[in-house]
Symmetry: C2
Subunit: 354 residues, 2 copies
């Protein structure tokens, strides 16, 4: 299990999670001549349309997981809310990348912030507590505006609340009640950027150029590369991301989100232990995209350089916007195969060369 | 059935043939949010690994074809040796692109040559006959060297024999016996090039830059773009290809192979009514590659411009060479999922940016 050598062509890549990221990982694995097995409780998970091997069980079903792990050659996951126990069950049988330490660190905002703090990596000031009442005790140390977040299961702006006064924290109690929370200083940033980095099992690192990201209501709307930042800042972002993946002995692709403050300071906002929405531009801007890169890394294949050949604008496609895509000829279109295009749901993305 | 409008996302694309071309078509269809259904008698056909809908029946099984056609929204094919009757059965139920006339024209060398001749499109001089004996009658009109080919089912140099004297034709009788054959003048060309062209159902045409192709033993080994030809020759190739797809009311991607003679004359060598090996470079050199382009065309979606952003070298990977790919980091790798890597078999390809 701890041998470090490339998986042969035809090996089976197990993917926990069958959403769009699992789907695009599966497609890239197929391109490399691997087979894929999608594990997701939802029988209609989009990734199951692009392979003929799949399982429909709960992530806590130990027997199903053991069976899954016994029938694949390596396992990865598409999202950070997989229970750590799921990974622990699987890794007794086969390799799982990224490792469980990386997953545990990134799936809890409080653990993540403490990890960054211990590494001397700049991020926003914060206090964290096991319960809401404890937060109230320590809040006097920070001036509003603040942002209150659940430690786990937040995504796309969900599980967050901006706080302008101590009274507002108190009144938020009912929303957050007994969940572990983290209270962070709200950063008045001028830009959000992210770096998609990959570390392979031999320790080699490759980074894609940082992108400039634009959000609406906490959801990524578009990413642009190159980002409108000085070269020195791009280098700093890459160095910070490298320090993070090295410390975690991380294998695979990670997304590292940063705030660029008004003083041109970089603060790490969030780590995503997986391929990342802000890296979808690599499908049209690089010879080897983030999905192929991730599959190469977890399979022990040499990873690509990350070099970019084109400038790209990536735009997410939400809800009913998907219907307009059939008129689109100037972008490469990726649609995720979701059957319900409810408002605000990410249905696909478009890449334009700019 | 004759309505010309874009298929909605989630529609099912039926693909006749489950080899590598069907596999890469299926992957591109998935990327566009379509589902795919692979029809191939071989239950282990490579394309069946990348979708969860497939059928294992003979191409002449009328009931199975009718059932298939009833369960998909449009049908295409990955190779020209599909019987025309297969298409005729399917098109009674749903749209099939390219049309049966294009298939019939291109699947028989004699029909193809006559079509080109009637269109005043230059190709090598030829005689054709229903049987070998008839060829012998007319051979005196052409000086050797000649090339004798079966009219159907030839590919990758199979079903061909170079003839240096009339005696050699006579002695080839046993090899070709009663098969319809065509005898062509062997062209002493300086370069082989090809053009990948696409025509959509509304009549719009887009062309990828011509590539320069290198063969060994009749099998494509590598394609390079841009081709080392004058701009005027590239334009001529594009104009000829456009004339061909317009005449056939072709819908989808076609590969047109040319010889460039020592006098810089262009002769059409062969038409392939499908995505083409010499167009695999588009996966790394264009925003919308030949597979996405074909799926867009047959689905009534607007096709891409064909614009190239990079110079590319595409190399085919044969037989056991596939094992060395796990050491490859400077090219994007495509492997076809075939289980038997016997000598000389096309197992995958690599794209390098040059």
């Amino acid at each position: 299990m701890n041998e470090k050598k490339p998986l042969p062509v035809g090996s089976v890549i197990g993917i926990l999670g069958g959403g769009q990221l699992g789907r695009m990982l599966s497609i890239s694995a197929s391109q490399l001549g691997f087979r894929t097995h999608i594990f997701d409780p939802n029988p209609k998970a989009p990734a199951k349309q692009v392979t003929n091997l799949s399982s429909n069980f709960d992530y806590k079903d130990k027997e199903a997981l053991e069976n899954f792990a016994s029938n694949v050659d390596v396992i990865t996951f598409e999202f950070e809310n997989i229970p750590a126990e799921t990974i622990q069950t699987c890794q007794k049988i086969t390799n799982v990348f990224p490792n469980v330490r990386s997953l545990s660190t990134c799936q809890d905002r409080s653990t993540e912030k403490k990890f960054l703090h211990a590494m001397n990596i700049p991020s926003s000031p914060f206090v964290t507590a096991k319960s809401f009442n404890d937060i109230l005790q320590s809040v006097d140390t920070m001036d509003p505006p603040l942002i209150l977040k659940t430690c786990r299961f937040g995504y796309d702006g969900k599980g967050q609340k901006i706080i302008y006064s101590k009274e507002e924290i108190e009144s938020a109690a009912s929303e957050f009640n007994d969940t572990p929370v983290i209270l962070e200083k709200l950063i008045d940033f001028k830009l959000e950027i992210s770096t998609i980095i990959c570390r392979d099992m031999y320790g080699k690192i490759a980074v894609f150029d940082p992108t400039e990201n634009h959000h609406q209501n906490g959801i990524l709307v578009q990413s642009k590369v190159p980002a409108n930042i000085p070269f020195s800042l791009a280098s700093d972002a890459i160095l910070i991301a490298s320090k993070i993946v090295n410390a975690l002995k991380y294998v695979g692709v990670m997304g590292v989100e940063f705030f660029v403050t008004k003083d041109n300071e970089l603060l790490v906002n969030e780590l995503a232990p997986r391929v990342h929405n802000s890296g979808h531009w690599t499908q049209s801007g690089c010879l080897i995209n983030q999905f192929e890169q991730h599959i190469r890394a977890i399979s022990g294949w040499p990873i690509g350089s990350g070099k970019r050949h084109s400038n790209v604008l990536m735009q997410n496609v939400f809800g009913e916007e998907i219907k307009a895509l059939t008129k689109n000829s100037d972008s490469s279109v990726n649609i995720y195969g979701k059957d319900d295009s409810r408002e605000g749901r990410k249905m696909g993305h478009k890449n334009f060369l700019t």
